[in-house]
């Protein structure tokens, strides 16, 4: 029955797709951005949602035992000993009690990042050193990022590229996005549903690295099952033909199954009870390790890492990530940045900020949760709290003369099998860079320099499709190094001119090809290369709030000189300019540029701090002198007053006599 339904479903969907594409219903250009993200449609659906049994808690603090039946993607229950074994579907298994449509609007799934125009988040980074390309990608309209659609990365490719560190859902299962050119591959790989287990499965056998392996093999529908401890998945959807049907062996009869088996799943029968139910060790209080799989930042160099690398002070004290990054059934997770309560128009969110938890005010009744200590900040004038976010002094790595290079889970595929463990692995992310945020305060950020090939048309920069770059530009550059670490590769001006020449011919006079690197657009003018400043070429930065360092390790603990000295790393640290063009060299930019501060003024101001001890002594002596003089005369005045009144009294007495 399962098999028949699946085949029927496959056939009907395929025919419908062809029919609609012939009618012009599916047209790449007509899919708007909001459509492509499925944001509006899901929100409309939310209005009609009826809560299921597991959506709302009854108030009991214990965790309900999740002894449940498994359902496949077609809604059929999976029984121990079934002949045709299919992966279980989290949408149907977890969705039996939890409203999937409501959950899929959550932060991790919907890519609905309406507030991110102000607060930029970590992008997905496409990095290909052979084509000198580093592109910050985002579906969330972060200013400075590029929408994957615009450089020819389809949702299918995106899922394959970055699926190891995404939770699935929406983009990876939205049928509207399964465009005709990827349609058949989507049918083979299946949808990547929201993998609830990635966060909620507390079973130590849950293996996200296995999930990543399945994504690499395009086994999207199998990935969740494979990562869990109840199923074992083998095979490669990526090696299967376009007409692959897991229920029909005739569809992959030409495939050598000895080397490239078809995807299949085997369940651990011991995990099923007599009622065909399986126990999932589900926890609402997500383990930190689950979050850290995708949200780790670590030093790129192994040098003294065992000394410098440390855990967030909150985690060390026994807290969990979800203690601050909370959500309800809608899975809209609080980010905890300063203005989130204003951006999301929910004053309660303030209590999840550093200030909201650590500073008690009359308006904020939730401060001090988890025993958060109230900071005293001895000797720190309040202007610091107007100009700096808490994270400047307390988070990320301590600023050094030169910004450090870090790796992040998502950019460097940390935690999956086979990453390059060498120091300075591409992309080169610098941290911390102190940047002025939208609210006017400084924040520590991570930074990357975008580097890519683009068309310049009417003074607009339009990035070239990555497939075009890989096919046409990459061979011309001849950077065939396998090493994806160390110094970022650079090319001579002559190479750049020759590549630009060749590609300009392809595009004709309609537009001009430019190369974006180190904050500039390089274009050919005659026989030379000209450099033009473009906003699109500016480095992309995103704010970081972890790891939070303890007070003893905060910036300023050693006094004003931590920042207010003429060579302070906070003001005058060097941010490397990473250029793909050799003639640009390997320069630096002062941190003050990113801080939007006048470097000269701050050097003068910092210089004045050398005289602070003298100033303090002068003020102290002067004040003591004033106090002594004033009080000596006050005493003298009291004496005169007493003399006056007593003489007045004496004269009155004399008169009376």
């Amino acid at each position: 029955m399962n098999k028949f339904n699946s085949q029927l479903n496959y056939f009907v969907t395929f025919m419908l797709c062809i029919a609609t594409s012939l009618l012009g219903q599916i047209n790449d250009s007509t899919i708007s951005e909001s459509d492509s993200l499925g944001i509006d449609s899901t929100k409309n659906e939310a209005k009609q949602i009826i809560y299921k049994i597991g959506d709302l808690a009854d108030g009991n603090k214990s965790v309900p035992v999740h002894l449940i039946k498994l359902f496949d993607e077609n809604g059929y229950s999976i029984h121990k000993g079934d002949q045709y074994t299919v992966p279980f579907s989290t949408k149907n298994t977890c969705g039996d009690c939890h409203t999937y449509e409501l959950i899929k609007q959550g932060t991790h799934f919907a890519f609905d990042t309406s507030d991110t125009t102000k607060h930029k988040g970590e992008p997905f980074i496409y990095s290909n050193h052979k084509s000198l390309t580093v592109l910050p990608l985002s579906y969330g309209n972060f200013q400075g990022t590029i929408n994957p659609d615009s450089i020819g990365i389809s949702p299918f490719q995106f899922t394959k590229m970055f699926g190891s560190h995404i939770t699935g859902g929406n983009l990876t299962e939205n049928e509207e996005l399964q465009k005709i050119n990827n349609y058949l591959r989507w049918q083979v790989s299946g949808k990547l549903e929201i993998n609830c287990l990635v966060c909620h499965d507390s079973d130590p056998e849950y293996d996200q690295a296995e999930f990543a392996k399945q994504i690499k093999n395009e086994n999207f529908r199998w990935a969740g099952s494979a990562a869990s401890s109840i199923a074992n998945v083998k095979g490669f959807a990526s090696k299967m033909p376009d007409n692959f049907d897991p229920y029909n062996t005739n569809t992959f009869v030409d495939v050598d199954l000895r080397t490239t088996p078809a995807p299949s799943v085997t369940y651990t029968t011991e995990k099923f009870n007599e009622d065909n139910k399986v126990f999932f060790d589900i926890d609402k209080n997500i383990k930190n390790e689950r979050c850290l799989f995708c949200h780790t930042t670590t030093l790129n160099s192994d040098d003294k890492k065992f000394i410098t690398e440390q855990q967030d002070v909150h985690i060390t004290s026994g807290m969990k990530c979800v203690a601050c990054h909370k959500n309800d059934i809608g899975h809209n997770i609080t980010a905890g940045y300063e203005d989130e309560h204003l951006v999301k128009n929910d004053k309660n969110l303030f209590s999840f900020t550093c200030e909201g938890c650590h500073i008690s005010t009359e308006e904020n009744k939730f401060s001090g949760r988890f025993g958060a200590p109230m900071p005293y900040h001895e000797g720190i004038p309040s202007i610091h709290f107007e100009k700096l976010s808490c994270t400047v002094c307390h988070s990320s790595y301590y600023p050094e003369e030169k910004t450090q290079i870090v790796k992040t889970s998502r950019a460097h595929k940390l935690g999956v099998p086979g990453p390059n463990k060498m120091p300075s692995t591409y992309p080169l992310i610098q941290s911390p860079v102190f940047v002025r945020a939208a609210n006017g305060k400084l924040e520590p950020h991570n930074l990357i320099w975008p580097s890519y090939w683009a068309r310049k048309k009417d003074n607009n920069i339009i990035p070239l499709d990555i497939s075009f770059v890989e096919d046409n530009i990459q061979p011309l550059l001849g950077l065939d190094s396998l090493y994806n670490f160390g110094e970022w590769p650079q090319v001579e001006d002559s190479t750049l001119i020759s590549v630009l020449d060749s590609i300009n011919i392809i595009f004709g006079e309609d537009s001009k090809i430019v190369f974006i690197s180190n904050g500039k657009a390089f274009e050919k003018n005659g026989n030379s290369l000209i450099r033009v400043d473009f906003d699109e070429a500016k480095p992309y930065t995103w704010s970081i709030a972890h790891n939070v360092r303890p007070a003893q390790q905060s910036l300023g603990i050693n006094g004003c000189y931590d920042c207010h000295s003429i060579d302070s790393d906070f003001y005058f640290g060097n941010v490397s300019i990473i250029s793909s063009v050799k003639s640009e060299g390997k320069g630096n930019i002062s941190m003050s540029k990113f801080e939007d501060l006048n470097s000269l003024y701050h050097r003068i101001f910092s210089f004045s701090f050398y005289f602070r001890p003298a100033l303090k002594i002068i003020l102290l002596i002067s004040t003591i002198a004033i106090i002594l003089i004033v009080f000596s005369y006050i005493l003298s005045g009291i004496k005169s007053g007493a003399e006056y009144f007593s003489s007045d009294l004496n004269s009155n007495q004399e008169n009376n006599i």
Binding site: P375, Y376, H377, E378, G379, I380, P381, S382, I383, F385, E386, K387, G559, Y601, I604, F605, S608, R612, A614, L615, K616, I618, L619, L620, I621, S622, T623, A625, I626, I627, I629, V630, Y633, S636, G637, S640, G641, Y644
Partner: protein, 206 residues
């Protein structure tokens, strides 16, 4: 809020000061002329004056004018940016303010040292206290003395609030209170400087 209140108080005090002086037939330019000519006189006189007593008198007055000049700069560098932006003192104004503040502190302590004896309240001043609303030379003299001592008293919280900020003794909340104390003291100091000038000039015309 503080900025608005301070702005209004200083504006009101200034208006009262100038209108009262005008009633006595004294224009603002007369006040400025007086200070500029007096300070020029002091600056032009030789330091190596043979008459040591004269030199000392000139030194005393040069301290007075230095204090007034410092007060004026500190007033402008602090009140102008804070009143108009409503934010804490920052940037070039802060550098000016912080650099000249110690000079002002030294000057005001010397001023007290040199002039406090002259402004000592005597029996006549105590007798004038019940008649303080009267407008004659003797009462005005008492008013000048009283204003001088009020200024001396205000200068204590004015300076000590900043000293407490400069040392890592107090937390941020207490520092904010210190800033408020400093601001209020500065506002009162400014008002009483106007009052002092008014009484000095007023007594000359009486």
């Amino acid at each position: 809020m503080f900025a608005i209140i301070t702005f209004l108080i200083i504006l009101l005090s200034g208006l009262i000061f100038f209108s009262k002086l005008k009633k006595r037939g004294i224009e603002l330019k007369d006040v400025i002329n007086h200070f500029t000519t007096e300070s020029k006189k002091i600056l032009s006189s030789s330091i190596n004056d043979k008459n040591r007593f004269e030199s000392f008198i000139k030194f005393k007055y040069s301290i007075l004018y230095l204090t007034l000049a410092m007060f004026l700069i500190l007033f402008l560098s602090s009140f102008l940016p804070t009143l108009f932006t409503g934010e804490h003192l920052t940037g070039l104004f802060l550098v000016i303010h912080v650099t000249l503040a110690p000079v002002f502190a030294v000057a005001i302590s010397l001023l007290l040292l040199f002039f406090s004896f002259s402004f000592k309240l005597n029996q006549e001043d105590f007798e004038n206290l019940p008649r303080i609303k009267e407008d004659n030379k003797s009462v005005n003299n008492t008013k000048v003395k009283l204003t001088f001592w009020i200024l001396a008293l205000i200068s204590i919280p004015l300076l000590s609030s900043i000293i407490l900020i400069l040392y890592p003794i107090l937390g941020t909340e207490s520092q904010n209170w210190n800033i408020i104390i400093h601001r209020i003291s500065a506002m009162l100091f400014s008002i009483f400087v106007l009052v002092l000038i008014y009484y000095i000039f007023g007594s000359k015309k009486v």
